[in-house]
Assembly symmetry: C2
Homo-oligomer: 447 residues x 2
Amino acid sequence: MSTMNTAQRGKMVNAFDPSSATGLSKQTKALVQRRAALLGPAYRLFYSDPVEVKRAKGVLLYDSDGNEYLDAYNNVVSVGHCHPRVVEAISEQLRTVCTHTRYIQQGILDYAEELLATFGGKIEHVMFTCTGSEANDLALRIAKHHTGNKGIIITDEAYHGNSEMTAGFSPSLGTHSPLGTWVRRVPAPDSYRVPLENMGHWMADQVSAQIGDLQRRGEGLAAFIADSMFSSDGIFAHPKDLFAPVIEVVHKAGGLFIADEVQSGFGRTGEKLWGYQRHGIAPDIVTMGKPMGNGFPVAAAAISPHVVQDFGRDTRYFNTFGGNTVAIAAAQATLNVIRDEKLMENANAVGKIIRDGFADLAKTYEVIGDVRGSGLYIGVELVKDRQTKEPNSASALAIVNGLRAKRVLISATGAAANTLKIRPPLVFSESNADRLLTEAKAVLANL
Amino acid sequence: MSTMNTAQRGKMVNAFDPSSATGLSKQTKALVQRRAALLGPAYRLFYSDPVEVKRAKGVLLYDSDGNEYLDAYNNVVSVGHCHPRVVEAISEQLRTVCTHTRYIQQGILDYAEELLATFGGKIEHVMFTCTGSEANDLALRIAKHHTGNKGIIITDEAYHGNSEMTAGFSPSLGTHSPLGTWVRRVPAPDSYRVPLENMGHWMADQVSAQIGDLQRRGEGLAAFIADSMFSSDGIFAHPKDLFAPVIEVVHKAGGLFIADEVQSGFGRTGEKLWGYQRHGIAPDIVTMGKPMGNGFPVAAAAISPHVVQDFGRDTRYFNTFGGNTVAIAAAQATLNVIRDEKLMENANAVGKIIRDGFADLAKTYEVIGDVRGSGLYIGVELVKDRQTKEPNSASALAIVNGLRAKRVLISATGAAANTLKIRPPLVFSESNADRLLTEAKAVLANL
């Protein structure tokens, strides 16, 4: 078992730090040690007191002692833990056949058709992978092949994946995780600090400057890629007219605009099925993953035909499990539930209740600097001082761990890790929101 | 829909070619067109007359008309299509909880412990991904981080994955799929043409020469990576003393030896659980995937602790679905079945029957130049002339499609696509082998 201090180099927001752990139960301590011995030093657990999960239902998790936790964090199980329609669809398909895309299947075509109808714009093809990382990796391979360029522009604290290439443009992995020489960063649209008016042009100017630098170094621009909620930059949902000026400069430089919808897609923002649609633009590639199969590994890149033509001629794409019959059954059932249970509409309504609740708490608690988000993707930024807006990371961590002690699960995000990240399953109800707000108030009162 | 001819550039062995398709049923034609419209130009189907799969059981597949096919090709469903123990384990876990590695779970630790006990040598940690591509990508990220070098050495027609980096060292994707500038190739150990004696030293000399070139260009050696069955080079199972001299020169240059067990692992070779163990060496990293969850997306990299220490300190690894509770349930059930049903032993016995059967056919049919393999991973190489050993690609393709017409599924491999690839589920029985051999004889007689 490694004894090095990981806190400084491979930093992670809300990571369990074995070197400063106190008060763990004997059982937790034993499991943590066994885990480090078997899984090695690159894994991180959440919380100062890690949670052991045994079972789950809807928005509730249960530990090995039967304690109940309110899940206000997990966006993968977006239609709720163990949703019976998804469980049954997967089980039924497992009993029928689990095989791949080198045979003909109807299910993948039916699902592709339904999914593609949700994008509009120029998106006409969809290619299936297992993970969001694979989808982003594939999107960039296609972008590089199509443009003949190498350069990629992202926001300062972006996260886009765990493959060699996508980790190479995921600065949020920490200051010692290698970045590609072909990567340029622009500041995130920090709506709490940057004037909202003309923010799209402000952002486009930053992108233009980085395009110029990439061109000067002979890399050129392959793509600009962003998650429209800027999840790891701190969750910025507004203004909604950011991307129109950006896509213009990107296209002018011959690059592609890739919308990373791994987190913001499938109704999470409450307003539109896809986060980029809140900005009224038409990307060249849309990537998706996490909630796509409610926990089953399935992800995809949806693509404008003209950008994938050369790639399809010069090489091929096969992903052994990507879009296999069971993955498609999971994805189809999940999409059906999102539609039938009106979960996007629920995200919109319940998200507003949570944001309003935190805005109310902000009247009492000065530590809350900003409340923002869209649908059930909410950021609550904590500051030391409302005038200077100096980030308050310690309070964010204290609230996250304080809520965990009260068995409500959230996390934190942003470069300074001072923004609470609230991102529950889309089935989160009004009474779940009440419980979250009540416990948050209690934690704030005891800070 | 794209009309370009993909045959020349993005070549693939045994790919359906829409430009030369004749005699397809109306239904197949419609499905193929709809597929191209929805999934785009980078997908490939198998066979001149693609197969539509509706359901499966054991080693049998059924199309939409209820026709039965003998599956002598699919290595993913290695314990048999729809194995009830695996189906039930996945379904049960789906009903209980599907969540990730940032919470504590017992199941992943129990599985990791059991898996790690199978490697021996220096392997002590295991990290979970969703696909073999992700496992190889992660292995190389770790190798590069540990060594500080970039160079990777592979065999001529290797395939190691579909991510930007792993596709960059997968020349079998075709002559127009980009290779990394940091990639060097060595000839595969073609046991049909290269003298067997001292082949390990012959291979080590080739590797040494490429190490020298990498060092001269300032790249250095990060890793040598090989699949011990050399699947896409043409399936070479012997001699078994190849890797000892190779690992020595690799280690001397400061590089890592990575055993890609995505295809040759989990008992496929019949002799050992892991293909590299047939060569009696101890790799630094072992990657695995395809059959690990019998079709459920789960894969892993098993690692010697000292090579992952810096990586674990400087960054972290999280894979949303990798090693989630359901993936682990699938992997555990699959490993249980391999052990309980003695499938490695079955692979050894039935594989010998198939190889002996083709060796018998070779007495009559001059087109068969070589029969080779281990366990249920078998190559039958076809030649125009046994003296010159000139590859006979046309006959290989004719046999693959001839068997498909008789509803027996295999494929072909190798740089010249002239080697039949026979790689059925490990539950393939003696009577399944008889059916395969009987149909193969009929096809050979009508060539």
